[in-house]
Each structure stands twice: as structure tokens, then as C-alpha cells.
């Protein structure tokens, strides 16, 4: 194994990146992660603002106002597939469109007027004001402007401290969670706590995924109080403190919120994942266990049995075609990476390279436990590394986002879109079939015969 690592890592031109990459084997070196990206390495990561926007954008009836130059709003206008059952204000991208003059004289007045304008036009109950790089530098007092606007209009105007340079995408998740915490009312006395009422954290309702999970839980007799933040609304978020349990899927973005809610409102939390049959089943079981309710546990088993029976034959058919293929994974956060390893096992595929943009040490420990010896694990990778390791490990497919897709295709490697703008659900039992089908569609396409 030692040898293998030497072979693999020698071809890396950037010395500093070595600590972020390892090959699973005998040696137990800790993978470096959650650090600043290396300048010039062509990181695939975005910024603090991006992290904050991803988490908050699904709040459907909020005005999402970007205080900054036009680009930040332009590149994030309705690019994600979060669905709404009600309002669609969130599908707009509002910006104060700061110009040179505003940089010199400050943007506070413009921001205040922009809020006035938008509140008058759309009558929202909630405005999120995102800070961008220059706002952090020119020193606009976001707090003060938001506070004044809040008082003036009698609504909540919440600043999101997401200046791009203050950290990486994870810092943006934190900024979003801070903004959400300001929204949640201390609930215990105000809201009747229903014993089987839970919050579901870290699902952004891409292609209706939160709705799928909501139906599963409802069949077990569990109500979802509010989802953070897929298809959520101002009113629903306000009542978040009235839940008896928080379940977290995307831990990378939401664990901080969960721990603060535990601290402030005494709501316990547990990690779940609805990616793949195994994780979905275990998560449903664990929820029933958390309520210590035999009837719920029974219903969960029934549901799992029923749903598994529905999808198993199709998945088995795909498995027969896919057995022995090798997958590479490069996704945003740790939970998805961990679940994907298991999900690939369900269809007979081994993961030979796996990495994330913002994984935490505990994510990488789990990943290390799950993958086979020889698998390359890497944090905050770049195109050169993805290319190198995919080719060296003989990957047949890559799971990633928009930027990774053309690289895979140019290398003649199949590709799975596991990003926020996908149009079909990958959660739950139905998601497991969709996933297997997508893997089949790309790995077994006839086009590869011609290249």
C-alpha cells in the first residue's frame, strides 16, 4: 500500500496538495480537509456566499437580495431545482447591483432603498440580505440597514454574513444557519409540541425529494414540522422550535443549526440519509427507534418491505448489467459521498476514487471505513487530480456537478449528475431506482462504442 501511494502521488505537481489526498491502505495518515483552497490549484469549490445561498434559497416566500455587484446575483438566478408547493418568490434573484460610485461612497443607502422597493412590490414577510466580498471590505453596516428596514416595514429583514473571502463554502453554511436561527422563535411555550412532530434538516427538495420523504414519514405516523429548507416558508420556519426531534440529512450544511437548536430549544438530533435503499431503510428504522414506538417500528418495517419489493427487481436488472464497474465520486459534501459508496455497492459497483469539496474529518473517517483498499480519497480536488486518478484507477463513471461533467465526457467516462439542478429525485426508494437507471443510461450507452 505504501508503494501504491508513492506511485500515485508522485505525479502531483503541487506539493501542497499532497496532504489532501491519500490512498486507503495500511498507513493511517489523517486526511487534511476543511482548509483554504490552494491558490492556483483550480479548486472546484465556490465561496461563502455560494454556501449561504444554497442553503437559504429554497425558502420559497422570501426575497433573496444580494447586496453586491451584479455577477453574484446573475450566476445564482434560479439555477437550482428546489421545488415549491406554494410561493415562488425564491426563484427570483434580486441585487443591489453595486457600481463604482457605490463602492466609493458606500452602498447602505442603495440597499435600504432596494429593500423598500422590493417590499413595496412583493409584500414579503421575510427578506434575506446576502453580503458579498466588497460589502465586507467597504464596510457597509448590514446589520443596521436590515434592522432599520425591519422596523420600517414591520417584517423580518435578516442579514446573511456571506462575504466571499471570509472562508470557504462551509462558512457560508454557517452564515445561513445563523440567519435561520434568528428566524426561529423560542418555541416551547408558544407552540404545542406534538410528540411525533419532527424537523427535517438538510434537504432542499430537489425534484421533490423532501416530499417523497414526507410521505414515507407520514405513513409511519410522523409529521414533518418544517424542512430546512426545501419548500419551506416564513411561517413554517418560525415554528421550528415546536418539533420534538431534528433529523439531519446534509450534515455538512446543517449540523451547526441542529446543535444550536439542541442548545437553545432542547431538541435532540440524529443523522439520517435517504440516499440508497440501505440508508433509507436504516434511517426510517432509526427514526422509529428514536420515538421508542413499537407500532411505528412495525409500520416502518412494513413500508420498507413494501417499497423495497417494488424497486428491487428493477435494481437487480440494472445490477446485472453494471456489476464490476468502477465509480469515481466527487461531490459537495460528506453525507452524499458516504451514502453513494453504499448505494454503488447495491448495484455492484466499487468506488475507486472519492472526494468532496467540504467534507469534515468525521466524513472522511466514515469514507475510509467504507471503501476498499487502494481507493483514492481526496479533499478539495481540482480537474488535474480528478483526471489523473480517474484514469489511473480505471473509473467507468464519475458522479459530480456541472463543472465536472464535461471533463468526464472528454475523458470518455460516463457521468451522473448529483447536483442541485437535477430534474429527477435521487432520494428514497424511488430515487434508488432512478439512480440505478441513470447509471445504466450513462455507463451502458452505445455512444462509448464509437470513441
Amino acid at each position: 500500500m505504501e508503494e501504491m501511494e508513492v506511485v500515485l502521488l508522485t505525479g502531483l505537481p503541487i506539493e501542497e496538495r499532497r496532504d489532501f489526498i491519500l490512498t486507503k491502505g495500511k498507513q493511517k495518515r489523517q486526511l487534511k480537509c476543511d482548509a483554504d483552497s490552494v491558490a492556483g490549484s483550480v479548486s472546484q469549490r465556490a465561496c461563502v456566499y455560494c454556501g449561504a445561498r444554497v442553503v437559504l434559497n429554497p425558502v420559497t416566500d422570501a426575497v433573496h437580495l444580494v447586496h453586491g455587484p451584479i455577477g453574484c446575483a446573475s450566476y445564482t438566478w434560479d439555477i437550482r431545482g428546489s421545488l415549491s408547493s406554494g410561493a415562488d418568490l425564491y426563484r427570483n434573484s434580486f441585487s443591489t447591483d453595486l457600481k463604482e460610485h457605490d463602492i466609493i461612497f458606500g452602498g447602505e443607502k442603495k440597499l435600504a432603498r432596494a429593500i423598500d422597493e422590493l417590499v413595496r412590490k412583493y409584500r414579503p414577510k421575510l427578506v434575506f440580505v446576502y453580503s458579498t466580498c466588497i460589502v465586507g471590505v467597504i464596510g457597509d453596516d448590514l446589520e443596521a440597514v436590515c434592522k432599520a428596514a425591519s422596523g420600517k416595514h414591520g417584517i423580518e429583514v435578516i442579514p446573511v454574513q456571506s462575504s466571499g473571502f471570509i472562508g470557504n463554502k462551509s462558512a457560508g453554511y454557517r452564515a445561513a444557519c445563523d440567519a435561520l436561527m434568528r428566524l426561529i422563535e423560542p418555541g416551547e411555550k408558544k407552540y404545542v409540541i406534538k410528540s411525533k412532530n419532527i424537523n427535517y434538516l438538510g434537504d432542499f427538495n430537489l425534484a421533490g425529494e423532501a416530499w417523497i420523504i414526507k410521505r414515507y414519514l407520514s405513513r409511519m405516523g410522523v409529521d414533518i414540522n418544517v424542512v430546512f429548507t426545501g419548500d419551506s416558508s416564513y411561517a413554517a420556519l418560525k415554528k421550528a422550535a415546536g418539533a420534538s426531534l431534528n433529523i439531519i440529512q446534509c450534515a455538512g450544511s446543517m449540523i451547526y443549526l441542529a446543535s444550536r437548536m439542541e442548545e437553545n430549544y432542547g431538541i435532540p438530533y440524529m443523522n439520517v440519509s435517504f440516499v440508497g435503499i440501505e440508508d433509507t431503510s436504516n434511517s426510517l428504522r432509526n427514526i422509529a427507534k428514536a420515538f421508542n414506538d413499537p407500532e411505528m417500528a412495525y409500520k416502518a418495517e412494513q413500508l420498507i418491505e413494501h417499497e423495497t419489493a417494488l424497486v428491487k427487481p428493477a435494481i437487480q436488472r440494472y445490477r446485472e448489467k453494471l456489476e464490476g464497474k468502477k465509480a469515481a465520486v466527487y461531490v459537495g459534501g460528506g453525507f452524499k459521498a458516504v451514502s453513494l459508496i453504499k448505494q454503488f455497492k447495491e448495484i455492484g459497483i466499487d468506488v475507486v476514487m472519492i472526494g468532496t469539496q467540504t467534507g469534515r474529518p468525521e466524513d472522511y473517517r466514515r469514507i475510509g471505513d467504507l471503501v476498499d483498499d487502494g481507493t483514492v480519497i481526496l479533499d478539495d480536488a481540482n480537474p488535474a487530480e480528478l483526471e489523473k486518478f480517474m484514469l489511473e484507477k480505471g473509473a467507468d463513471l464519475l458522479v459530480g456537478g456541472v463543472k465536472e461533467r464535461p471533463l468526464a465526457y472528454k475523458l470518455g467516462i460516463a457521468f451522473i449528475d448529483h447536483n442541485h439542478n437535477r430534474k429527477h429525485p435521487l432520494s428514497g426508494f424511488i430515487g434508488a431506482v432512478n439512480f440505478a437507471e441513470e447509471v445504466y443510461a450513462t455507463v451502458c450507452s452505445p455512444v462509448w462504442n464509437y470513441i
Binding site: 490552494v38 469549490r45 450566476y75 438566478w77 470513441i451
Partner: protein, 464 residues
């Protein structure tokens, strides 16, 4: 004509992008070049994502990944390290350094930093082109032209006069650039086309994969541009301060023929005539035939096109070319919009929109909220522009003919052909067929409602 009404403080759904975005595209048209964005990591990643989704090509752009420390104490170390790593990873033949809002606001002197860097590293032969592109300083279109000007400025050689013709193209599809190259070829023009991203952003599938794609205007050719016999620049809307052709004329005395994009019969004629006059070469038979086929297409479709009420939006240069093509074909532009400020476009439109039947809304520094409002007000029935216009389809049912950059919700933006006689024919067919599709989809129910159910419409009201 112009009716930018009251000042608005909030932009609602942007119709433009920021300066460094355009700069990246320019550099993609230079042989073996790579770009590093001096700013926080997100800028580079967002732009890469935007470009990659349009062209379906890997787009590697580095970032100096400025963090809090760099922002407070200066980002020189980050930029130097970024350049080191970029060179190690890609071994580029030229490096573009583009600034961002952040770098400009903290006052980074990238000219000095990069020249010091090259001296320290003994890399004085490696051309590095630093361009100041703060996001708040202008649109992607301005970033595009400014980067072109800076690249010429940096590479301008001392070589004497030559007989070649500079062809400077604005933001077009790779297919359009290839078509312009074909026209130049059949007209036997010895030219330097710049920038040329027709291969770098639309490469054939081949193995092994190359991190830095083949193609792009050769550095040696760019160096010859100041000695060329003439420049044809498709940049009638470019401001004088950023016009690369203007720079070549004022500093090196290269006569400038500033022409519109060759779209539509008049503008393509203008391009071909100019080539003919500059080279003395005849227009070959196959090009004449293409012109004839375009005329045939225009005649065949003119009645269908007459029903078109278009909303045209996007980059000024494209907007002007499309408006002209609409006018030639009896399609009435009812809303003409661009996200930035363009005095040249305003002037040009004034003269060509005078003959329009009705009122034309011209919107600059606008956003999609306003475009939507005016489109609805003026009963537009076809939208022409990049894919953000899908908002007009979704909200107002106005079908969109996708054109320009970016196109994110359909494939093939890089393959859309719209220039020259041939390209215009294809562009027109896309427009006409969209109008027809809409008509066929609705005329039965429209007639039923109007005449069978007799909703009381006065038939004369529908006349224009």
C-alpha cells in the same frame, strides 16, 4: 424611443454578467492561454460553471483564492502562489490575470505584482496580460473587449507592415466563428482572426485528453496585428475606450472598418463588400448562391415573419445584429434590451428603429423584470436571446429562440450558426418556425373562441 422610466434601486433578475466573465472568453481565444482570477474562490468557480454549462467543455480557470488575511494585508502572496501552481499544472503559453471586485477594492496593483513575479522567477519571456475587470466596473461585454485590447497591447510586436487583415470578433458561438473563417477562406483573405475560441470551446472528441486545448489565435499572429493592412472589427457597439480595433488604429495607424456582426442581408453584404474592397478579390460563386438562397428564404417566409413582434435582449453587439435582421424581414422589434449601458447601441438603434410601425421600448441597464413587463405591455410574441429569457416563456408564454451566451437549458449553444448568408438563413428558419409552431398550436382554439363562441372581439382591432 428610449423609455427607461424611473430609477430603480434593485435589479430584479439580471440581464448581464460581470466583467471578468467576458475576459475569460477572450483569453480562451488565445493559443495555449490560461486565466487566473485574482479574488475569492467563488468568482472563478461560478464563471467556470456558467461557461462549462453553455459550451459543454471543461473550463479550467484558476483563482488566487483570496482569504481574509489576503484581503486585509494584500493578496500579492496569493497571486504569486497561484501563478506558480498554474504554471506547474498547465504550462501555459500566456497567462491572463483578471481582477475582481475584491482585488480592485483592496487596491491590488496587478501590473506591478505580475511584473515583479516574472522578474523574480526569471520568466520574462512568458507573456502575462493583466486586465482590470472589477465586477462593478461593467458588464461581461466590456470585460471581453477590454481583455482583447490588453492582449494586443501586451503582445504588439515591433515587426513592420504586413498585408494581412485583422478580423476582430465579438462574443459569437464557435460555429459562427468557424463560419466567418470559412467566408474569409472562400474570399481568399489572408487574415488574423482574433479571438478564436472556435476550437478551444468546441473541441472534437479525441484522445488523449489535453488540459490546454489546441486552437486559439497564435501569439505570433497577434503580435503582427499592429502591422496589418486593415482591421475589420465586428464591434459597432464597443465603447471607444475599450475598442481593440480603435486602439490598433490610433496607436499603430491600422485603418479600422468597424462593422456590425454579419447577420442579415445588409450586414453580411457589408462584410463581404469590405473584404472585396480590401483584397480586390471577387465574391466567389458559392457565396453568391448562399446569398441567393437567403433571399429565397426571406421571400418564402416573409408573411409568417410579418406576424412577429420580437423582444430582443442580450449583449449590445448581438442585439443590434438581431434587430437589423428582424427589421429586414418584417419582424417588428417591440422591446430591445441590454443589461449594461451602451451609448453606441442607443445611437445605432435610433437611426434604424425610426421606421418602425409602433412604439419600440428600448431598455438599457435593465433587468428581466422590466423586460417582462414591457414585453407583456407590447404583446410580444417571440423572444430572441440567451436562455435566461426562459423566464419570459414561463411567466408570459412568449416562446424563446435561444441565441448568444449563455444557453443553459438546451444543448448546442456552441453549435448555433447565425452569421453569414448561410447562418442567417438558419437563424431565420429558427425564428419563423417558432412563430409557426405557436400559430399552429393555437389557431384552432383562437378561431373557435373568436368566431364560434363570438367573444365580441372587433376583428379590426387585430390589424396592425
Amino acid at each position: 424611443m428610449k423609455d427607461n422610466t424611473s430609477y430603480r434601486y434593485a435589479n430584479e433578475n439580471p440581464c448581464n454578467m460581470c466583467m471578468p466573465m467576458g475576459g475569460i472568453i477572450s483569453f480562451k481565444g488565445v493559443e495555449k492561454s490560461m486565466v487566473i482570477i485574482h479574488g475569492s474562490q467563488g468568482c472563478s468557480t461560478y464563471m467556470r460553471r456558467h461557461i462549462a454549462e453553455h459550451f459543454n467543455e471543461p473550463v479550467d480557470v484558476a483563482s488566487s483564492s483570496l482569504n481574509e488575511k489576503g484581503t486585509i494585508y494584500g493578496g500579492e502572496n496569493n497571486l504569486r502562489k497561484g501563478l506558480d501552481n498554474l504554471i506547474k499544472l498547465y504550462n501555459p503559453g500566456l497567462i491572463g490575470v483578471l481582477t475582481t471586485c475584491l482585488a480592485e477594492t483592496i487596491g491590488e496593483d496587478i501590473e506591478r505584482i505580475t511584473s515583479d513575479y516574472l522578474k523574480d522567477r526569471g520568466l520574462t519571456d512568458l507573456p502575462v496580460v493583466a486586465v482590470s475587470t472589477p465586477g462593478y466596473g461593467g458588464t461581461h461585454t466590456e470585460g471581453y473587449f477590454l481583455a482583447l485590447k490588453k492582449i494586443i497591447y501586451r503582445l504588439a510586436g515591433k515587426a513592420g507592415k504586413n498585408s494581412r487583415i485583422n478580423i476582430i470578433v465579438p462574443s459569437l458561438s464557435p460555429a459562427d466563428i468557424r463560419e466567418i473563417k470559412r467566408i474569409l477562406h472562400v474570399m481568399d483573405v489572408d487574415c488574423i482572426l482574433f479571438p478564436d475560441y472556435s476550437d478551444t470551446l468546441d473541441r472534437p472528441f479525441e484522445r488523449p485528453y489535453k488540459k490546454v486545448p489546441d486552437g486559439g489565435t497564435r501569439l505570433a499572429d497577434i503580435a503582427m496585428m499592429p502591422g496589418a493592412a486593415a482591421t475589420i472589427q465586428m464591434g459597432v457597439t464597443a465603447g471607444d475606450n475599450i475598442s481593440p480595433g480603435g486602439y490598433l488604429e490610433s496607436h499603430f495607424g491600422v485603418p479600422l472598418y468597424n462593422l456590425p456582426i454579419p447577420m442579415g442581408i445588409e450586414n453580411t453584404d457589408l462584410f463581404v463588400e469590405t473584404l472585396k474592397n480590401l483584397t480586390g478579390n471577387d465574391v466567389p460563386e458559392n457565396l453568391r448562391q448562399e446569398r441567393g438562397r437567403l433571399l429565397d428564404c426571406m421571400v418564402d417566409s416573409h408573411k409568417y415573419n410579418f406576424e412577429g413582434r420580437s423582444v430582443v435582449f442580450g449583449e449590445p453587439e448581438n442585439v443590434y445584429a438581431i434587430v437589423k435582421t428582424c427589421l429586414e424581414n418584417g419582424i417588428e422589434p417591440v422591446v430591445v434590451a441590454t443589461g449594461g449601458k451602451s451609448n453606441k447601441l442607443t445611437e445605432l438603434l435610433k437611426s434604424c428603429l425610426n421606421g418602425c410601425r409602433g412604439n419600440v421600448h428600448f431598455l438599457d441597464e435593465t433587468d428581466f423584470s422590466e423586460i417582462r413587463e414591457k414585453s407583456k405591455e407590447s404583446a410580444a410574441n417571440i423572444a430572441i436571446g440567451h436562455s435566461d429569457g426562459r423566464y419570459l416563456t414561463e411567466r408570459e408564454g412568449i416562446p424563446l429562440v435561444r441565441h448568444g451566451f449563455p444557453i443553459h437549458d438546451r444543448v448546442g449553444g456552441q453549435r448555433l450558426l447565425s452569421v453569414g448568408y448561410l447562418g442567417t438563413t438558419m437563424f431565420l428558419d429558427r425564428i419563423t418556425n417558432t412563430l409557426l409552431e405557436n400559430k399552429y398550436g393555437s389557431y384552432r382554439s383562437n378561431m373557435y373562441q373568436k368566431f364560434y363562441q363570438n367573444t365580441g372581439d372587433n376583428p379590426l382591432q387585430t390589424m396592425r
